[in-house]
Symmetry: C2
Subunit: 339 residues, 2 copies
Amino acid sequence: MTSESSPLERMNAVLSGKRLELARLLTEVENDTPAGQVVLDMLFPYTGKAHIIGITGSPGVGKSSLVNQLVRQARKTEPEKKIAVLAVDPTSPFTGGAVLGDRVRMRDLYGDPGVFIRSMASRGALGGLALTTGALAQIFDAAGYSSIFIETVGAGQSEVEIVKLAHTTIVVDAPGLGDDVQAIKAGILEIADILVVNKADQPGAESVVRTLKGMIEMGSASSLRDHFGHHRDENDSTFSGEEPSSDWIPPVLPAVSTRPDGITAVAEAISAHKNYLIQSGVWQKRDRDRLKAGILQTLQSRLLTDWQAAHGSVSLDDCVEELSQRKSTPQEILRKLMA
Amino acid sequence: MTSESSPLERMNAVLSGKRLELARLLTEVENDTPAGQVVLDMLFPYTGKAHIIGITGSPGVGKSSLVNQLVRQARKTEPEKKIAVLAVDPTSPFTGGAVLGDRVRMRDLYGDPGVFIRSMASRGALGGLALTTGALAQIFDAAGYSSIFIETVGAGQSEVEIVKLAHTTIVVDAPGLGDDVQAIKAGILEIADILVVNKADQPGAESVVRTLKGMIEMGSASSLRDHFGHHRDENDSTFSGEEPSSDWIPPVLPAVSTRPDGITAVAEAISAHKNYLIQSGVWQKRDRDRLKAGILQTLQSRLLTDWQAAHGSVSLDDCVEELSQRKSTPQEILRKLMA
């Protein structure tokens, strides 16, 4: 593949599993180049098969090593299936960024042609992170990767965004974290399809398992999802509240991710959740919701581009100036712009 | 004020500092009620004066107690100035949520009529968090609060969003946090105008101060902001890269937020940064950028509403169905929708 290859040639190279062309396309799409977007769009008909698994949790719980173990195990039990790992890192140029992260994470899995690991830097992505992550996952999906693990470091908005991408969300917890961390943990509990208590060989692990099980029993899955649904954006149809919600009760599974202990149970829970999604129709529904949200977002930005082309940017700058001097209110300006 | 009060009466009540009406409006705007939006819009001409200060950092570094000390100190030195605190909590119904947070935080400042503390739940806000936080800050601004502290718990996307709202961003750090936490910390370092090393009486604090100072020297302010600017969204004009970037070097200040130690230096740095912003013209520029981003966002969602009204929702659902069956690519669908 040279830089002169046609989009069709590039698409076929990705579809036939050429790693170099895959890597090149991932980079182009991450950098949002027009050529990359063309190939990405052409790959779309080949997507929709991969199982996307989100892994999240507070810093220090051992998410990377858990993913590492899950991938190793899957490669042993089903060697015919390819697996991708997308690590979303909030690292900065200070720490060496994504490249170093790749190398550290790849240590165990490096050299396995059935595994592809990719780090993304989340810094500065400013709302575009979920979009880019989704696009990269789509490329892996088309390229025949059966499972795509998306791992995020941190706790907050980005975790909630993962839910929209992932079919199955694993929230990882561990004993020995401070009180402040507990509060954050509670906030992302409601997005969990599977809970893993990592470092289960350390003091306090049993108590964490008990507490989490108690929380799951207390807040039934249905009331949680309802709650979640009520806060969604108006234009965000990802959670439509129509999903059958009470059928799946998130299991709480102890694990020691530096050893294979407990990994089999986690892998089984991932499979069980996938089966549940497909049998209940939630898989298809989420796919449709995700596609709808995507098309709405693209449509919206396209409508703005067209509006700007028709109205010119001069009047918009004048409006901003008026606002800046507090001479008009935003609603007054909006009425003027839409007139 | 009764529920029959006119928008004008309600606006005047907020402008004249009526706490009850202020609280009522905050709730309405948080719940996005039409009546609340009308009053919010009417208040706009009275905004633009408050200094918005974002406080962020990893869990457990003591952000709340730092804010507490800063507010107490400011109330002593400038008692004529009112201060608001907006705490953005990723807590969930599991932990008792925002109400409990209010009470815990208010302990010290409760009963001071010059202080208003408000907690927001970030769970489920799904991208709308920054919008709502900005609206609440605007209400405090119009109501004559000179300083508005916005405190977020967590690390990730939401911290980056704060930068867009805050004039001055304080990143809080502390000794004794794990390696994983250090990585996250590095990610948000680049948004810091002021760095505070809290728990400065604990072992390792001096080393944290040294490390942070080294990082600040290494990556000059200018290269950091350039880097940041290159990753912004296309439609996000908040960071336009035109700001004078090398004039302000973020100070690294030790503090012990459970006592007033070091608080004076932090308060002085906040003032100094405000003066820098005003004298360099960055204050006005950021205000304009923020207003422009806001009007673009509103315009965009309005254009979509109008488009949907004109085209009906039936065709959109058909398009989603076609996508769902992988019969067309997103670009093909978009061309069809825009035809």
